[in-house]
Amino acid sequence: MSSDSQSHAYWRATLGLLAQVLVIWFLVSFGAGIMFAGPLDSIKLGGYPLGFWFAHQGSIYVFIALIFYYAYKMGQIDRRFDVHEE
C-alpha cells in the first residue's frame, strides 16, 4: 500500500461493494422471501407462488451468485489498487 489515501480508497471501494451485495442479500431473503412474500404469491413462477419460491428456492440461488460476484469484483478491486496476492 503506497500511501494512506490509497489505502482509504481501497477500503472505501471494498465497503461500497459490500453494501451493494448486502442490499441484494436482504431484498431477496428478508424482502421477497418474508416481508413481501404475501403480495408476491399472486405472481406464479410455473407452479410456484413467487414469494414461496423466494423463501424455499430463489434466495439460495441468489446467495450463490452474490458470493461469486463478490469474489470476482474483489479480485478486480485488489488489482486496481495493486494489493492482490502474488
Binding site: M1, T14, A37, F52, A55, H56, I64, A71, D78
Partner: protein, 602 residues
Amino acid sequence: MDLQTTTYIVVGLSFALYIGIAIWARAGSTSEFYVAGGGVHPITNGMATAADWMSAASFISMAGLISNMGYGGGLFLMGWTGGYVLLAMLLAPYLRKFGKFTVPQFIGDRFYSQSARTVAVICLLIASITYIIGQMTGVGVAFSRFLGVSSATGIYVGMAIVFAYAVFGGMKGITYTQVAQYIVLIIAYTVPAVFISLQLTGNPLPQLGLGSDMAGTSVPLLAKLDSVVQELGFDKYTTAVPGSKLNMFLYTLSLMIGTAGLPHVIMRFFTVPSVKDARASAGWALVFIALLYTVAPAVAAMAKMNLIRTINPGIVMQNADPYGPDAAIKYDERPDWMKRWEATGLLKFEDKNGDGRIQYYNDKTKNADVKAKAEAAGWKGNELNVNADIMVMANPEIALLPNWVIALVAAGGLAAALSTAAGLLMAISSAVSHDLIKGVFKPDISEKGELMAGKVSMAVAIVVAGWLGLNPPGFAAGTVALAFGIAASSLFPAIMMGIFSKKMNKEGAMAGMLSGLFVTLFYVFAHKGLFFIKGTEYTGLIGGPNSFFGVTPEAFGAVGAAVNFIVAYLVDKVTKEPPEHIQHMVESVRVPRGSSIITGAH
C-alpha cells in the same frame, strides 16, 4: 438380498472408505494437524465445508420440519445458507489473511488481551459441545434404526471411526474424509428425491418438480397440496407461518449470523492457500450445500403428499371426499413401511373412534367446516402421529424404492453426523491445545509437544462427546438453538468489529461479548430452565413466554447480537483507543497482499 444385509454392506463400504483415507492422511506437523497444511484447493475445501456444515439435523430432520411448517420452514433454508454470504464477505477472507490457527487466537491478538481470548474459548466450547451432543445421538439413532443394533453400540462404532481419522489425521484427515462423506450424503439425499419427483410430477429434478404439475394432470403440485392439506384442516402449505412474521424474520437472521459465527465452519477457511481462495471457497461451499438445501423443500412437500396419499388415497388421486366412508385406509391393510416404523415408535396409531381405519387430519383446526365434516364422518380426533424425522428416513420406502436406496440413506445419515462431529471435535481440540495449553498455560511448548497435546485433547473430546451422546442430558433437543444463539450473540459481532472497526478496543469487545452472551442465555434459560434444568424456567420473571415482541428463544440470537454491538460501541466511546500497532494490524488484515500459508508462527 434382504434389506438388513444390503444396509450392512453399503454402510460397511462407506466406513472402509473413511478408514482408508485416515491411513493415507496422517498429520505430521501442527500445520497439518490444525489447517491440513494450508494447501487445500478451494473447491475441495468447499466440499469439505458442506459436509462439515450439514449435520444430522440438516440431513435427517430439516425436510420433516419444513414438511410440518410449510412456507414458514423457509427460515431454515434461508437462514442456514444466507450466513455464507456474510461469512464470505465479512469474516473468512480477513481471518485467512490474519493467518493463525484458531478463532480465539484472532480475538485474543486483535483485542490484545488473554482474557478476551479465554472468553472466546469458553463461547467456542459451549457452542461446539452442545452442538456435538446432537451429532452423537444422531449417529446412535441412525445405527439403531437402520442396522438393528443398540444406540449405544452405534455410538461406540461412530467414536472409533472418528477416532481413527481425527486423532491421527487432524484437520488433514478430517478434510479428506469430509469430501468422501459429502459425496456419500449428497447421493443418498438426492437419489430418492429424484425418484419421488419423477413419480409425482414426471420431472426428474426435484427443484423443478416442486414447481411442476402433478403427473398426468394440469394442476400444480403445490396447488394440489394446498387444497389437500386445507381440506384436512391444516394451514395452507405455501403460506403457513408458525408464529409471527417478525419471529420468522429474526429467526432467519439469527441462523444467518450464527452460521457465520460458528468456529468449526470459520476454521475450514484457514486451510486454503490464499485470501482469494477463501472468498471463492465460500461460494463453492454454498454450491455444494445448495445441492441439498434446494432439494429439501421438494422432499418436504412431496413426502407430505405421499403420506396423505398413503392414508387417504382418493383425496390426492381422484379429488374424492376425504370424509367419505371408505376414504381412509384400513389399519390392517397398511403398507409394510408403516409397520416397520411403528416398531421404532416414530409412527404411532391409535384407533380413537374404533372403526379400524386411520384418520389423519388436524383435529385442532379452527375451520368450522372441517370440524363439522369430521364430526359428521364420526371421526374422534387425529389417529396418526408421525415423527418429523421419518419424512427423510422412510421416504424411499414410502415411494416403494429398492433396498439399496434405503441402505444408501442410512449411510448418508451417518456420513452427515460423523462429518459434522469431526469438524466440531477439531474446533474443540484446537481451542484446548492451541489457545489454552500453548496460548495461556505453557507458551514455551515445542511443536512436537503441541501436536501431541492436540491429539490428546482430540481423544479426550471424543470420549466426552461419546459419553454425552450415550447419556444425553434432558436438554439435548434445545441445544442447537443455544449453539447458534451463542455464535450469533458473542463470536460473530466480536470478530466483525475486530475487522471493520480499527478503533474498537478490548474493553468494548469484552463488554459486548459478555453482554450479548448474557442477554441471550438469560432469555433462553427463562424458557428452557436455568442451564436447561427442568423446573427452573422463569418465564414469569420476563412477563410470560416469548414476551419480547413474541420472539421465541431460538430466534433471539439476532437480538443478542444487536445488544453486543450496541454495548461494545458505547463502552468503546468512553475507554481509550487501542494501541497504534493494533490499528496497523487491522489495516494489514484488510488487504490480501502478503498472505502466506498458515504455519502458526507467532
